[in-house]
Amino acid sequence: MFAFLANPQRFMAFSKVAAPLIGATAFLLLASGLWLTFSAPDDYQQGATVRMMFIHVPAAWLALFSYVCLAVASFLSLVFRHALADAAAKACAPLGATFTALALITGALWGQPMWGTWWVWDARLTSMLVLLLLWLAYIALRSAIDDETKAGRAAAILALVGAINLPIIHYSVVWWNTLHEGSSSFMKNTGSSHYLAPLALMALGYTAAFGSLWLVRIRAELYRRRASLLALRAAEA
């Protein structure tokens, strides 16, 4: 799959069909997921606010998943010096940062009615916030270096360093939280199929939306590179 798509021309031909198809799938999944979300019964403890779960949990899952995608793309671009992998890493960063911010914002909106506060220094929230800082550092480094190949390689090194650090950050924050007697914990409602089906649909829908947007952004990045190359040639001629 990787080897087949590593050819930019084959990738362009594939993504031209795949991006809208996956996007349409995402739309159908999200629409049916939202339908089930609003037709699900109220939770006996949380009331209607339980519906926040269906837009919050998939965002948190994608925040991590997109970082894994970034790390894989960075590894491929660093080791094989492949331009397409670099474009994929670059295209991934704003999406991942957005999903992380979305997870934090929907978490705050859910926390306000449930815990009575927008923010607690809970282990999950804090490690999510550090993840957002990592995304911002990646984007900042990438945009601060003018030479594009150098910027791509420096950013790839940072992405891999962050990937090694992410589990350490997570466990250190968990340890910090237990040290300080964390006050809040999630009340999990597991086993209820009313909630499982919309959650699964929304998770798949978010993932498909991410995949489709990622393909579109990679295509845009490749077109942008081609355009700047042509502009350079025209200026030389």
Partner: protein, 216 residues
């Protein structure tokens, strides 16, 4: 004299001698510690409860300040090109730079940390632990920060960029050190030492890769 000791002597005299050596970092450290009672209020109980943590955080910030000149000057005047061609592997060059940075700036800060914490009202018995944590932490900050400094080579607005890159990576050592100070040693100190050892062992690889990329 072997190339490695010559390099170490050069790095040490550069980071100790040029630009005031540890003085600017110490002055910054003293400044931040002075600002804390002004911001929080002078009540001794309130200050004492936050004193060790604040002294610890100010140390992390002071370690950030001197990172910018770790590679930048050698990069600009071409010394880094020569070092990359020399007999010492680039990974070792980076490690030696960070080690010299720790000796010239980290250790003086670690000696100042207990004084700052005591002045803010931390118990006297805590002073040796604060100095130990600060010395270990400064080593971790120097090596993890060196990665940020190497990655930011050749960029615009280096200093701010280094801080943005490095601060998320500082989260675990800050947590472990703070935990060691509140719990009086124990698991936090061991975890801090483990993180420091891992940073010393692994970050030279990332630094050398970043420097090679910038020199290309």
């Amino acid at each position: 004299m072997s190339p490695l000791t010559a390099l170490f002597g050069r790095e040490l005299s550069l980071s100790w001698g040029r630009g005031g050596g540890p003085l600017p970092a110490l002055a910054f450290y003293a400044g931040v510690t002075t600002m804390l009672p002004l911001a929080v209020g002078p009540e001794p109980e309130r200050l004492a409860s936050v004193a060790p943590g604040m002294a610890w955080l100010a140390l992390a910030l002071a370690a950030l300040l001197s990172l910018e000149r770790l590679f930048e000057r050698d990069f600009e005047d071409g010394a880094l090109d020569l070092l990359s061609l020399g007999p010492v592997p680039l990974e070792l060059v980076c490690a030696v730079k960070c080690l010299a940075q720790w000796i010239a700036i980290g250790l003086p800060l670690a000696l100042a940390a207990p004084i700052a914490a005591l002045a803010l009202g931390a118990p006297t018995a805590l002073a040796p632990l604060i100095a130990l944590c600060a010395a270990l932490g400064a080593l971790a900050f120097a090596f993890a920060g060196g990665m940020g400094a190497a990655l930011a080579l050749g960029s615009r607005r280096g200093g701010l960029l280094i801080a943005v890159i490095v601060l998320p990576l500082f989260a675990p050592p800050v947590i472990f050190g703070g935990g060691a100070l509140t719990a009086g040693g124990g698991a936090g100190l061991l975890l801090l030492a483990a993180w420091t050892a891992a940073a010393v062992a692994l970050s030279p690889l990332a630094m050398a890769a970043a420097v090679r990329n910038a020199l290309d």
